[in-house]
């Protein structure tokens, strides 16, 4: 039962993370390969603030704000690059942030990571706090869902799609494409920061190894599998991926082969992504009807 609660909490955190990437990838057409950086910035900021004695809520807000500010600061120069080059710029930003966590020991304790990150006082530590942490995550996921749905259904969301479909047309129609893209990345980064801070307070221990490119690929898979450019798609994607990950643990794998499971998992994700792009690029819940 506790295990099921755990899976649901991880699923909800990834749902928020996937929604945040979908705003950039699905609605605006931006391939942000360094999205995990903002998840990490949210996690570290919130962890460090709460370890320094500030309330957890303040830490989480701080994590979101810093992720949003750094996202905006990255987006303004990086979005002057077109398409693929934006992907490369964000990819390197993700690595830089991870290396910062790894090397700035005075702040992040480097590879040792940060243990003992507290949860909000009303939730409580350990297994006893799981049901309340689940409710906390559920409330936040619903809020994030409603906020992004409001954004994507507004004229702002429509303009994001115009930018995605044809940047030149957007400009010819008087849209400041750079401004729309920067705002999409800013909101995406804030929400990724929220997911990251939830992660830190839930797991209670974070280290630079949690924020690698693999995480970005995983959340990318959630978005593409579920359905880019839809509000429900990323949630469904996160659900399928996280449960798949957990089901693997129960497969009757002989102990001798145990060491192959982790690398195989990565290969399965890669293969799944390639097959999806070839056979069903619109995902499980397509944005538009056939």
């Amino acid at each position: 039962m506790d295990y099921l609660l755990h899976i649901f909490i991880v699923f909800l955190i990834y749902a928020i993370f996937a929604i945040s990437l979908n705003l950039e990838l699905g609605y605006t057409g931006l391939y942000n390969f360094g999205h995990v950086a903002f998840f990490g910035i949210g996690a570290y900021t919130s962890a460090l603030l709460s370890l320094a004695g500030y309330p957890v809520t303040l830490g989480m807000v701080g994590g979101m704000l810093l992720a949003g500010v750094l996202g905006t600061l990255l987006a303004i120069p990086a979005l002057r690059l077109s398409g693929d080059y934006f992907g490369i710029a964000t990819l390197s930003f993700g690595e830089i942030v991870r290396l910062f966590f790894l090397n700035e020991r005075w702040l992040t304790k480097g590879p040792m990571g940060l243990p003992g990150i507290p949860r909000p006082a009303w939730i409580g530590e350990g297994v006893a706090g799981l049901p309340r942490f689940l409710i906390f995550c559920l409330l936040l996921t619903v809020m994030v869902f409603l906020v992004t749905r409001r954004i994507t259904r507004s004229p702002f969301g429509r303009a994001l799609k115009v930018v995605r479909e044809d940047e030149y047309v957007a400009q010819a129609l008087g849209k400041n494409t750079l401004s729309f893209k920067v705002r999409a990345v800013a909101v995406g980064s804030i929400l990724a920061g929220l997911a990251g801070s939830l992660w830190a307070h839930y797991i209670s221990y974070i280290s630079p190894a949690d924020f690698t490119l693999t995480e970005t690929i995983l959340v990318l898979l959630c978005v593409v599998l579920g359905g880019r450019g839809t509000n429900r798609g990323p949630i469904l994607g996160a659900f399928v991926i996280i449960f798949f990950q957990e089901v693997i643990r129960f497969l009757p794998i002989p102990p001798d082969f145990g060491r192959f499971v982790a690398p195989l998992q990565g290969m399965v994700y890669g293969a799944a992504l390639i097959i999806l792009m070839l056979k069903r690029p619109e995902g499980l819940l397509p944005e538009y009807k056939q």
Partner: protein, 254 residues
Amino acid sequence: MLNIENVTKSFGGLMAVNDVTLQLDPIGIAGLVGPNGSGKSTLFHLITGFYKLEAGAVYFKERRISGLSPHIISRMGLVRTFQQTRVLPFLTAQENLMAASPVQAGEHLASVFLQPRKVKLDENKNREKAGKILEILNLKSLSHHLAGRLSFGQQKLLELGRVLMAKPKMILLDEPTAGINPTLIRQLVAVIKGLSCRGIRIFLIEHNMPLVAEICTKVFVMDSGSLIFSGTPAEARRNSRVIEAYLGREDHAA
């Protein structure tokens, strides 16, 4: 209304637009013609800010617009279409038009959350206007179809409709009738004439010479990047340099 002064642009060693100077008055329909590769579309790109000028300047309503971003030029009321049809394929016909409205309350994130009433009113007005334009263009029944699924001619009409949503004072049309059937051409011409009557200045690139002669009051002819003629369509047909540009020099002919 539109003054182009000594505008020049080259790509590598090729002079795409070479020292072009022309003025457009605030009324009527003007045509820009010339053989393929003579620099017409490049000139449009230069006027609307999609290309940077190498030399010269462009003025729109006495304001210098060369050097400004395309979206700012568009917001000043100088709106264009592209030579290749570019609808937004995964948005519906109605959404294509509504997205084209230039200043929308709902495009500010703060207003989306703090002034939902204002956004909704604005959006309703926008939808109504899009509906009217769809009706004019005979596309009303296709409002909720994805634009990518419309026929080529319908997409051309939709593109024109999108320009209308942008509250233009002057429209640059890059080959509006290329590749569409005669019936749709008549419909398109009727819309263009109607706009002109409402005081919107039209400047169009067109290869269909009888059509240019029918609707344009003034015509500019380009060849190899240079402006070689400006005058009425009737004069253009008698001008020896224009005939040369289209048919080739006699001493080159075998």
